[in-house]
Point group: C2
Chain length 375, copies 2
Amino acid sequence: MTRFSFRLSATDGKARTGVISTPRGEIRTPAFMPVGTAATVKAMMPESVRATGADILLGNTYHLMLRPSAERIARLGGLHKFMNWERPILTDSGGFQVMSLASLRKLTEEGVTFSSHVDGSKHHLSPERSMEIQKLLGSDIVMAFDECPALPATEEDVAKSMRLSMRWAQRSRDAFGDRPGHALFGIMQGGVTRALREESAAALTAIGFDGYAVGGLAVGEGQEAMFSVLDYAPGCLPEDKPRYLMGVGKPDDIVGAVERGIDMMDCVLPSRSGRTGQAWTRRGQVNIKNARHQDDPRPLDEACTCPACRNYSRAYLHHVFRTGEMISGMLLTWHNLHYYQELMAGLRAAIAAGELATFVAKFHALRAEGDIAPL
Amino acid sequence: MTRFSFRLSATDGKARTGVISTPRGEIRTPAFMPVGTAATVKAMMPESVRATGADILLGNTYHLMLRPSAERIARLGGLHKFMNWERPILTDSGGFQVMSLASLRKLTEEGVTFSSHVDGSKHHLSPERSMEIQKLLGSDIVMAFDECPALPATEEDVAKSMRLSMRWAQRSRDAFGDRPGHALFGIMQGGVTRALREESAAALTAIGFDGYAVGGLAVGEGQEAMFSVLDYAPGCLPEDKPRYLMGVGKPDDIVGAVERGIDMMDCVLPSRSGRTGQAWTRRGQVNIKNARHQDDPRPLDEACTCPACRNYSRAYLHHVFRTGEMISGMLLTWHNLHYYQELMAGLRAAIAAGELATFVAKFHALRAEGDIAPL
């Protein structure tokens, strides 16, 4: 049985490329993880998600514990079998979504009680319960249970919250125990304050995790503030473990994060955009709703090999979006996930070749040109 | 270039099996045509529709003329290219949907003017305009423009409407002209009155079509009344041409129609049911919403080879329906279309083997047993 391991194969500046090995398959880094919130990447068949090049999915503990419940998924053989995805799955801890979605939250040192946003039912999460749930789901990469303070927050509140998360990180580590082939990641907090980030990194490193996430970013602080944290935060973490930036992001966020030493990311953006008529291409964002596309026989991106670009015109994509057809979300989500994975493959190849700067310059130049001109 | 042709290969009682040949491929009969109303079979990729065994799709003239318009589709290379379906397409004439969906209809001998149900814009359909639209779409099997009287209707109204449709059938024939490789089908009307059905069949046969539809059924008259018409109506039509029963139906409607000599059918039922949590199996109908499925690890139908049955439990299908996930409609539609095509394949094989009665008896017996018992 393969144990969980991480091997770096090349670096270029602060950027890194390598492979995470798990019993369920390899994850090429830098990796983008599509989000399968409720045991499905919305509008996609799992085999199609794999066809885009995804090595790993993210599942949401909060959503799955409410519906259909972790115990039910365990009885049914685990999340992989349930959702027909045999490759690695990372689950978040539930902490972030409790704060953003649940109501009637009550936070104590022990954990958090809350009411479901679905039916108002009462639930409880703590480091121990989060570890239990993620084990019931059968997650390959388990996230420590943390607290993410609501913004805006004072530095004092951020510090207090971060220190609570560090105590919960220790409890998560203790509750996780020894599970060969499965990994536990700690989550750095500390907002945009360097001293707090360093304190958090030191606390996590002292506990010891299989990987380290940078949490508490992509919560509305803006790209500049995020990059200013990423200019130093990855360097505070052990070099020989994967570094995961949670909830990021737009393509240029991803490129900037990889340049700064991030190995893993996840975001709902490509799938959510696909359902609202937004496509991401090498030339930036395309709003397929726009009437300029209604007679356009050209594909979204002539260089893209996804089914939406190979087989359909912009005029068709415009038509099915306007008429509210499900194939609109299916095709645009597929395209967006394909584009994201192609971007990751490009980043990995560029780092391996020591040509990241050239790749990034071309990436920005083509986006600056913008979408092809209307016919 | 293959001309449009029909070759019967076997009969069993009144039931027939054969092949319709077109330049875009063969259609094995009896055939079920999935409905691709607005240039998409809802919730399905066209390659998945083909994978279920469909040889031909139906497109709706009424919907397509409104959005994105026949002229636009023609400029974009025709409906096949537009929707990425290279195989045969049958288009209806628009007449039925004008009557059921449009508002402010004004019917004259010349044709019908109406307001779009989408945006209220004014439109016109006549035999000549319907032929023009279906040519612009690039339809392989074009339907004559007819009128379907709103029910309930007096026998006098049905007769009057049928005779108008027969005059329109002649005008459709004249306007269609000679288009090698493309077919024009006439549509028999006459309600549930045998004398009117015979009069209609004689009128159509005198004009001469490449195939003949039985129209004006499946409009709420019930299976018994429909079968009582089908007991004689197909026999009024030329034996050497395909017979198409429009808008039918449930699996047992299909079996009964095939037994009575029908070669082609279409219906939104399998795709529409798929989006509302209804599955059709060899054992009848399954309502996946029902709580009895929430812990059931078994597939919808263990003998079915569709992706929904091969890769997912009833518990998963229940979960994604309850959480409103798109994959619910995608999987159930795929299953339903697969089941329908498997039923057609079974009917064809049974007719070819002269064993239709046995096949039909087994079909009804398994349905009578009902769904598998809850765990």
